[in-house]
């Protein structure tokens, strides 16, 4: 075959040069290489890292598509052009071309920036350091546009991605060596560097920021309010979304985090394909429910009054925490990152549980920013090696004890 042979010849030509990793990255995208097993097992399993990462991306695609529709829907709803959905998940008010086109043109650039900048840096490092381009960024690059506000200025995203990839990953040696989840590192950078763009009630719906500026300049148009449910609860504002709206995802929020239904399907797909850790997902859900329930009990016992600034979030029914904010998205797609998460099966139970538990705690007690899942996962990323250490020590102690019993 012509293409195959030509590419093979090109690979031979680039072999040993600085450009080899960059060429190979493109080449292996088209063709699985002709390398044969040497010196160990003579046969290998069908999966490689590309396939693994690709599976995660497939699980993310529904969230991306939904995010595009939702971007348009939230915008047109806020400016009063359309009515809120009334009849279930497949409402025509939501799934129409107008919504999609607006979302598509707003979100596509975010995807392109995320992949362009991130992969560009990956290629650069691969060429400089002479290692192959690793696949980890394929997932990170898809996660990033899904966890930022829709109107985020492009330059901020560029700066954040560059920071996240270099400081979050490359300085440690690339995929497999990093301590913190790169996508969350990028988001945390945005959050601490540009807080006005990452929280409040003006960033979650397309057009809200612009409209605010127009009003400040003397326009008489109505302000667009794009408060997330968590924001409303933290301010003890009334929430006018139904539980099913939250579950389906017809609510404001980061681009791809809103639809718990699709995230749930994605999570089940990841568990089924054995790519995502069911232990982490299940234990994180448990952790969140337990913490939420504890707060409910505190409220029911009357230890906290309606005047408390924590009342809104603490009195939220415990299982509602799972379908509002980024909780579900974080648990399914970020907490399960195998590199930064706990690596032992026992450790995964502890790690996941604490992520859920701490997420809700931060969510309730953090007045500035009512979402805890990002910080909880980053915190547990740091503690994951410690958890693993104690789990592995259990095995080591058992071995030592066994030896002592024998000699005694």
């Amino acid at each position: 075959m012509g293409l195959k042979q030509n590419l093979h010849n090109l690979r031979e030509k680039y072999k040993g040069t600085k450009m080899a990793p960059a060429f190979n990255a493109l080449h292996t995208f088209l063709y699985t290489p002709n390398y044969t097993a040497q010196g160990g097992t003579h046969i290998k399993v069908a999966d490689d890292l590309k396939r693994t990462m690709n599976t995660v991306i497939m699980a993310l695609i529904p969230c991306l598509i939904f995010g595009m529709f939702n971007a348009g829907y939230q915008h047109y709803l806020a400016v009063g052009e359309i009515q809120a959905v009334t009849n279930g998940f497949f409402s025509s008010e939501f799934w129409n071309l107008q919504n999609f086109i607006l979302g598509f043109w707003k979100i596509l650039p975010l995807v392109i920036i995320s992949y362009g900048v991130g992969l560009g840096i990956e290629f650069l490092f691969a060429v400089i350091k002479g290692h192959e381009v690793e696949e980890g960024y394929l997932v990170t690059g898809m996660l990033v546009p899904l966890i930022v506000p829709i109107d985020i200025p492009w330059w901020m995203l560029i700066v954040a991605v560059a920071f996240g990839v270099v400081i979050g990953k490359e300085v440690f040696g690339g995929t497999g060596m990093n301590i913190l989840n790169p996508a969350l590192t990028i988001r945390a950078f945005l959050f601490f560097a540009y807080p006005t763009w990452m929280s409040g009630d003006k960033v979650w719906v397309h057009g809200a920021v612009e409209r605010t500026k127009e009003i400040a300049n003397g326009s008489t148009a109505d302000a667009i309010s794009g408060e997330t449910i968590l924001g409303s609860l933290a301010q003890s504002h009334p929430v006018d979304y139904s539980v099913m709206d939250m579950f389906y995802g017809f609510i404001p929020g980061s681009v791809g985090e809103t639809s718990t239904l699709l995230i749930l399907l994605g999570g089940l797909f990841l568990i089924f394909t054995k790519i995502g850790s069911w232990r982490i997902m299940v234990s994180a859900v448990l952790g969140a429910l337990v913490m939420g329930y504890i707060f409910n009990v505190v409220v029911d016992a009357g230890w906290i009054t309606e005047t408390s600034k924590f009342y809104g979030l603490m009195s939220t029914e415990f299982w509602h925490h799972l379908i509002i904010g980024g909780m579900a998205f974080g648990i399914v797609y970020m907490a399960t990152d195998p590199v930064t998460g706990s690596q032992t099966n026992k450790g995964k139970w502890i790690y996941g549980f604490l992520i859920g538990f701490i997420s809700i705690m931060i969510r309730v007690f953090n007045p500035a920013y009512p979402e805890g899942v990002m910080l909880a996962i980053l915190l547990m990323n740091v503690f994951a090696p410690t958890i693993d250490h104690y789990v592995v020590q259990g095995n080591v102690k058992k071995r030592l004890k066994r030896g002592k019993l024998k000699t005694a």
Binding site: K4, N34, G40, V45, E132, G176
Partner: protein, 451 residues
């Protein structure tokens, strides 16, 4: 207490080309080559030079550090070539066999009448000691350490493995003689494992503790059985011996002859009529391979041993010292268009990421040697544990070998493992890391630093 071993973690790799249960006498090969590489950590010192005539069973070299352990010629004939590699390291000793075989006579030994030291000396002088391996380190056993137990796995669960029940048929007398002798070399037990549904001749022996094993591969690996029966602790030693080598030891004790004959299975999807052959240790494989339907111009890989832990040998290669299997599978040195994202039906996978081998658990596959990807850092977690039945953390021990932390390697269980225990984790590794090499290098480091 039940002596049965049941494991759940593991993976049966079902390949095409299983051997039919008929044995042919292989065309007698004229050339035999002993490869010192088969004996890990042994530096050979030659006893004879090129051109010398030797009898079958006559020592031709010994280890540099241990003169007592002899390595003997499998046939009688003339040493025609000493092949040397870099730094004049000996890589092969080639012997041209005589038409009429003559044997060195070591004399019969009544093992019941003599003590352990005499048995040891007898086995070492006659070359039979080389069949006894020890853990820790997976090397030929050191004679000065008494093992706490001896393990023999009479069940091979590896892909396309020779059926040990079949190849050991009718060898009860030899097996019993060898077991009795070995029993005198340890204060502990001699553990023998057979498949749960087998009719192995090993099951009827006296002086052994019998275990029935069941479950997926690696239940037949002796390492798995040691871990389940009586794991190795720091400072302890266990010995392991392949059952077919017991036959050679037994025959030596009963007749005084070192008879290198062995029944070998010729298997794999590239073999037209896979079945068993009677041949000798270190025999040239070319005649056997090409007389039996392997395409002489084909692009195949010939492996002495199984597809997981065997050694690649060329068409001019020789049967390994410890092998009872020749596997031939197609090479996979070709590109595959969009191999990383299209659905896969014809390869084995333990995930379900658009790979569909989970739908057909009984299908046999025709796998080639393609890596199906590129080497990467360790990324995924939790998947090794699914196929690794030992009570050890596989990824953690591999990493400790990579960063050469001796204390941690010891604490995590390096004394218990051999490279072959990590064959399955290597097979399923998405990052295509060379697990067996990593473990071997780790063990070598420990030999060097701890001894």
């Amino acid at each position: 207490m039940s002596n049965d071993i049941k494991i759940k973690k593991g993976l049966d790799i079902k390949l095409k080309g299983e051997a039919e249960k008929t044995t042919e006498k292989a065309v007698v090969s004229n050339f035999y080559t002993l490869r010192p590489d088969d004996f890990h950590a042994v530096t050979p010192r030659l006893i004879y030079k090129e051109g010398a005539k030797v009898k079958a069973g006559e020592p031709i070299f010994h280890d540099k550090t241990n003169e007592a352990v002899k390595f003997v010629s499998p046939v009688s004939g003339e040493i025609i070539e000493i092949e040397r590699g870099a730094k004049r390291r000996i890589v092969g000793i080639k012997i041209q066999a005589d038409k009429e075989q003559t044997y060195q006579d070591y004399g019969k030994l009544d093992v019941n009448a003599v003590d352990a030291d005499i048995i040891k000396a007898h086995l070492m002088a006659s070359g039979c000691w080389t069949f006894i391996k020890q853990r820790p380190y997976d090397i030929i056993a050191k004679a000065d350490q008494s093992p706490k137990a001896i393990f023999i796995s009479g069940y091979d669960s590896a892909p396309l493995a020779a059926d040990l029940d079949y190849v050991l048929q009718g060898k009860e007398a030899e097996l019993q003689a060898a077991i009795t002798a070995l029993g005198k070399l340890t204060d502990g037990k001699v553990h023998v494992s057979v498949g749960a549904k087998s009719n192995s001749p090993l099951a009827g022996l006296s002086g052994v503790t019998l275990h029935k094993v069941s479950g997926p591969h690696p239940c037949g690996n002796v390492g798995t059985q040691i871990n389940k029966i009586d794991p190795v602790n720091k400072g302890e030693t266990v010995w392991t011996i392949n059952p077919q080598d017991l036959v050679i030891i037994g025959e030596l004790l009963l007749t005084g002859k070192f008879n290198a004959e062995r029944i070998v299975a010729l298997v794999g999807s590239s073999v037209k009529k896979p079945r068993y052959f009677k041949t000798k240790i270190a025999s040239e494989v070319a005649t056997m391979v090409y007389d039996n339907g392997v395409d002489q111009n084909g692009n195949d890989r010939i492996i002495s041993g199984n597809v997981l832990s065997g050694k690649q040998i060329g068409p001019d290669g020789y049967l390994g010292y410890y092998s009872n299997l020749i596997t031939i599978i197609p090479e996979g040195d070709d590109y595959e268009f969009f191999g990383w994202n299209k659905p896969i039906f014809d390869k084995i996978s333990n995930s379900r990421a658009l790979t569909f081998s989970w739908l057909t658990p009984n299908k046999t596959y025709d796998l080639d040697t393609n890596m199906n990807g590129e080497h990467r850092n360790f990324v995924l977690t939790g998947n090794y544990e699914e196929v690794f039945p030992l009570d050890i953390y596989p990824m953690q021990i591999l990493k400790s070998c990579l960063y050469e932390d001796l204390d941690e390697m010891e604490a995590l269980g390096m004394y218990e493992v051999a490279p072959e225990d990590f064959a399955l984790t290597e097979f399923i590794c998405v990052s295509k890391q060379p697990h067996q090499q990593i473990i071997r290098a780790g063990l070598d480091l420990m030999i060097e630093e701890i001894g």
